[in-house]
């Protein structure tokens, strides 16, 4: 049976390739009984979402949206 170290590696890899049926099954089975890894799995999705959003507002978004010092549009 897969441990958390192996499970998290697979969850990371699932962001980059399609897991095999066996890998998926083993992972599901592990995650049923492991809250930490279940959270980790969701966090992988969140990281991707964050990076997408971050790409759209490079650095922090403190300068760009502020328009008060500009003439009216």
């Amino acid at each position: 049976m897969m441990n958390c170290r192996e499970a998290t590696r697979l969850m990371s890899e699932s962001q980059d390739r399609k897991l095999t049926l066996t890998e998926n099954a083993e992972l599901k089975f592990h995650n049923i009984i492991c809250t930490g890894c279940r959270n980790f799995d969701r966090q992988m999705g969140s990281l991707r979402l964050f990076m997408k959003e971050f790409a759209q507002t490079p650095e922090s978004s403190d300068t760009p949206t502020r328009k008060d010092d500009k003439p009216d549009v």
Partner: protein, 195 residues
């Protein structure tokens, strides 16, 4: 679009800051001052030609960074092929964070077990969050950061990154894994555990 709505390209402070941010990004990705300067210069010139179509600085910034990312991807594809970059197997030495996170049986140490982050979609509107994100990305070991950002930010494929960095797929997988472990750990400690 008339004169009044276009971006003011004489806004030196904005341009200077934009250039600094681009340089910082390009340096991290290219690991070479000269190449970074060149990429930024080209991207800026290319992007500012169209600057008049943008009414908002935010939109221009997004556009400029999109062009910069393309330039960087081009440079990386060419550069590593010519093997100008010394290949370090940093992925094998630095950052064995996983040894601290897991016990001997490979299970989470009790105080390291990932927690529920709630609804992450809400975070994207929080400027403070992006500061933490920026800090956490900056704390990644350079190689991990490069691999991770090529993957998630420039959106190169696994094959392209492996070719660029001259690493095997399994090396890359390890680098990406460690980057993600580290990044989520950092975000959890510095943001999610506090909110």
């Amino acid at each position: 679009m008339n004169e009044a709505t276009a971006i003011d390209l004489t806004d030196e402070a904005f341009l200077r800051e934009l250039r600094e941010q681009m340089l910082k990004f390009a340096r991290l990705q290219l690991n070479d001052e000269q190449l970074a300067e060149d990429a930024v210069q080209e991207a800026l010139i290319g992007a500012l030609k169209n600057a008049r179509s943008f009414a908002r600085q935010a939109a221009l910034k997004t556009w400029v960074f999109a062009i910069l990312k393309n330039k960087i991807a081009d440079v990386l594809r060419g550069k590593y092929r010519r093997n100008e970059v010394s290949d370090d197997d940093e992925c094998n030495k630095s950052g064995n964070l996983d040894d601290e996170l897991f016990n001997d049986g490979g299970h989470w140490n009790a105080d390291e077990r990932p927690v529920n982050w709630g609804a992450p979609q809400k975070m994207v509107y929080d400027e403070q969050f992006w500061k933490v994100m920026d800090a956490c990305l900056n704390h990644l070991p350079a190689n991990q950061a490069r691999a991770f950002m090529m993957r998630e930010f420039i959106e190169l494929t696994t094959d392209e990154i492996c070719e660029s960095m001259e690493v095997t797929v399994s090396n890359l997988n390890v680098m990406l894994y460690r980057a993600r472990l580290r990044l989520r750990e950092c975000l959890e400690n510095r943001w999610f555990a506090k909110t």
